[in-house]
């Protein structure tokens, strides 16, 4: 690990401007997370154009803090409204809402906040230690291995996305296909541009992000706007948990934090998977399992520690390999790209100062979360009173001005709306847009890797079999695809039968 880069990242983050943006970002993330129907990804996508004019350290710090803030904010609605603010807070409803019904909303929120804080700190430390280690391993990778990593990234994300594997892979492949639009850099051939000059530079990744993640959410809010709004439970007790309670919960928090980090490491899985996994483990380890679902604080601590730990975990493959672990980290990677930093293993070397700034920003945001959470959790309840219909229309307005701000072109606004409509269609078809966005990011990486590899191999596909690392990575990619096919089930059937009879 290059300590000078680590220190540069730390000093970049610890400026007054950045600290102010981190606190503001955490607060914004907290409010966004609290509102059911809004996600961290949407907030990040909407605010990405703002960071264009910022210094990279400031922009990244703000985005990281929104991500961290929203991860906790989701639990506020889960505990007080019985509606998770974000999908990652769904497991928190099980014990958080019964606690608020018993007049212990403050206690539940306090446990959630401290568990989120410890989970976040753990993941920040893991990110700081593991990303450079993994990065130092992959820094020697050539085009063949980079191509294999990109293939693995897209197949794993596609395979693990919500719904069926076919849908996830379809979404990823579509992203790759869209990534070829624009001028081909090696032959200067315009591809699928329909002679439109605006498409010659390709489809702007941020435009697709805003459209795919924000417009469908706004339209869904409008669809459900006629439903009665739920009334939030009141917070009547103290927010800060007792030391003895926290001490008793510590093994649970540490275990759940570990689960969150490990889950975040796997591209395509996110806070929702981690929080259910941690909840189940907390229940399995509990002495009295019957209290789970009735208002057990362990049932609040586990999912909250896990979903905040996912933040750092998901950033490890993003930073070390250039493969975003989730749609939110894809946006953080997009923020790096906005500043001319391309995804790949050189993130930790050539652009180490900015990358370490992002890592430290996650740590600082976690500390900020504790302070902002203690001060503003009660105030954030009022955000839930804003009518969904208004929020939806405001999101559309922000999407339009935000997409215009990227290149000052009306064409981009039209493109964003088209992506928005397509995202809405994907939502109706229950197909995740995350692999598509990741396909858009990894498309150029994959194409460059492929062309360079073919040059090395004198046009022979055999070049991909000459590198043992590439063979292993491509083998895993193949297995991740095959495991969804009937062939795999047919191959597994005899083993299953033997297990049953044995």
């Amino acid at each position: 690990m290059d300590t000078s880069l680590v220190m540069t990242g730390l000093t970049n983050v610890l400026t007054l401007t950045n600290i102010a943006f981190v606190v503001g970002g955490t607060l914004l993330g907290l409010f966004v997370g609290t509102m059911p129907g809004l996600s961290a990804t949407m907030a990040l996508a909407l605010l990405l154009p703002l960071t264009f004019t910022f210094d990279p350290a400031t922009g990244l710090s703000m985005l990281a803090s929104i991500y961290v803030g929203a991860s906790y904010g989701g639990s506020i609605a889960a505990i007080l409204l019985k509606t998770p603010g974000t999908p990652a807070a769904a497991a928190t409803v099980l014990d958080g809402y019964p606690l608020s019904q018993q007049g212990q909303a403050g206690k539940a929120l306090g446990i959630s906040l401290f568990a989120s804080f410890f989970g976040g700190l753990m993941s920040g430390a893991a990110l700081l230690l593991a990303a450079p280690l993994l990065g130092s391993l992959v820094v020697e990778f050539g085009p063949v291995e980079l191509f294999a990593i990109a293939v693995l990234g897209i197949t794993i994300i596609g395979s693990l996305a919500q719904g069926s594997v076919i849908n996830g892979l379809f979404s990823g492949a579509l992203g790759l296909l869209i990534s070829i639009i624009g001028m081909d850099l090696t032959t200067a051939t315009p591809r699928m541009t329909f002679n439109n000059i605006n498409l010659f530079s390709g489809v702007e990744f941020t435009i697709a992000l805003i459209g795919l993640f924000s417009i469908p959410q706004a339209l869904t809010l409008i669809e459900n706007a006629h439903r009665d709004n739920k009334v939030a439970s009141r917070i009547t007790d103290r927010l800060v948990p007792r030391f003895a309670e926290l001490k008793a919960l510590m093994p649970n928090i540490l275990r759940s934090g570990g689960i969150g980090i490990a889950t975040g490491l796997i591209p395509g899985t996110g806070g929702d998977t981690a929080s259910w996994f941690a909840y189940n483990e907390a229940k399995r380890f509990a002495k009295d399992k019957s209290r789970f679902g009735q208002g057990d604080i362990a049932g609040v601590a586990a999912p909250e520690a896990a979903n905040n730990a996912v933040v750092g975990g998901a950033l490890i493959p993003t930073i070390a390999l250039g493969i975003p672990g989730s749609s939110s980290t894809a946006i953080l990677l997009g923020a790096l790209m906005v500043h001319g930093i391309l995804p790949g293993p050189n993130l930790l070397t050539e652009h180490g100062d900015v990358t370490y700034t992002l890592i430290w920003a996650v740590m600082l945001s976690t500390v900020s979360l504790l302070i902002v959470g203690l001060l503003f959790t009660k105030a954030s309840v009022s955000v839930t009173k804003i009518p969904d219909g208004f929020v939806a229309c405001a999101i559309i307005t922000l999407c339009i001005i935000g997409s215009f701000a990227i290149n000052n072109r009306i064409f981009d606004v039209g493109l964003m709306l088209a992506f928005g409509l397509f995202g809405y269609w994907l939502k109706k078809a229950d197909v995740s847009p995350a692999p598509m966005v990741i396909g858009l990011i990894l498309g150029p990486v994959m194409e460059n890797g492929f062309h360079q590899s073919m040059l090395i191999g004198n046009g022979s596909y055999g070049v991909f079999l000459e590198s043992p690392i590439a063979v292993v990575l491509l083998g895993i990619a193949l297995i991740s695809v095959l495991q969804a096919t009937p062939l795999f089930r047919w191959l597994r059937a005899p083993f299953k039968r033997r297990l049953k009879h044995g």
Binding site: A173, R191, D388, G389, I410, G414, A429, M446, F450, H451
Partner: protein, 158 residues
């Protein structure tokens, strides 16, 4: 059967064919990846359609609406109303974009918000008025004053 997914699969095949046919005209180096990607998208789209049809075959059980039918119809009506609202708001958003150049950002945004909120009819007049004022002020401050976005604030004919 998820009809949206079936149509998505069919459209996917169409898109894949379009990209494939176009890629055949490119030089070899430029055509390689589009050809690989379009074949992949085409195959996955087909797989998506086939799996939906297969699922429908398996799940062809008896219809069990029975006594809950009136309630289901009411719910269905609400859902339909929501979908129509969403479609109309999206159409208004499409109209709003060219209006910015004609009426200026301020008037176009206020008109868009008023029209959409009036259509949704779930926001009170007071909340809508305060909300629109706050939203327009924040956008003007952040995007126009702070970021210096070159967007016309007032009508072009003023």
């Amino acid at each position: 059967m998820n009809v949206s997914r079936v149509f998505l699969g069919i459209s996917g095949v169409g898109v894949a064919v379009l990209f494939y046919v176009n890629a055949l005209e490119y030089p070899d180096a430029a055509a390689q990846m589009p050809l690989i990607y379009s074949v992949t998208v085409g195959l996955l789209s087909l797989a998506m359609v086939v799996s939906e049809i297969w699922k429908r075959k398996i799940a062809s059980g008896p219809d069990t609406v029975g006594e809950d039918e009136p309630q289901a119809t009411e719910e269905e009506k609400g859902r339909m109303r929501g979908k129509v609202s969403a479609a109309l708001v999206f159409a208004l958003a499409v109209l709003y974009v060219p209006l910015i150049n004609v009426l200026g950002y301020l008037i176009a945004t206020v008109l868009f918000m008023v029209a959409t909120l009036a259509m949704i009819r779930t926001v009170s007049l007071k909340v809508a008025a305060i909300g629109i004022a706050v939203l327009v002020t924040v956008i003007c401050l952040v995007f126009i004053a702070f970021l210096g976005l070159p967007i016309p604030l007032l009508p072009s004919f003023v």
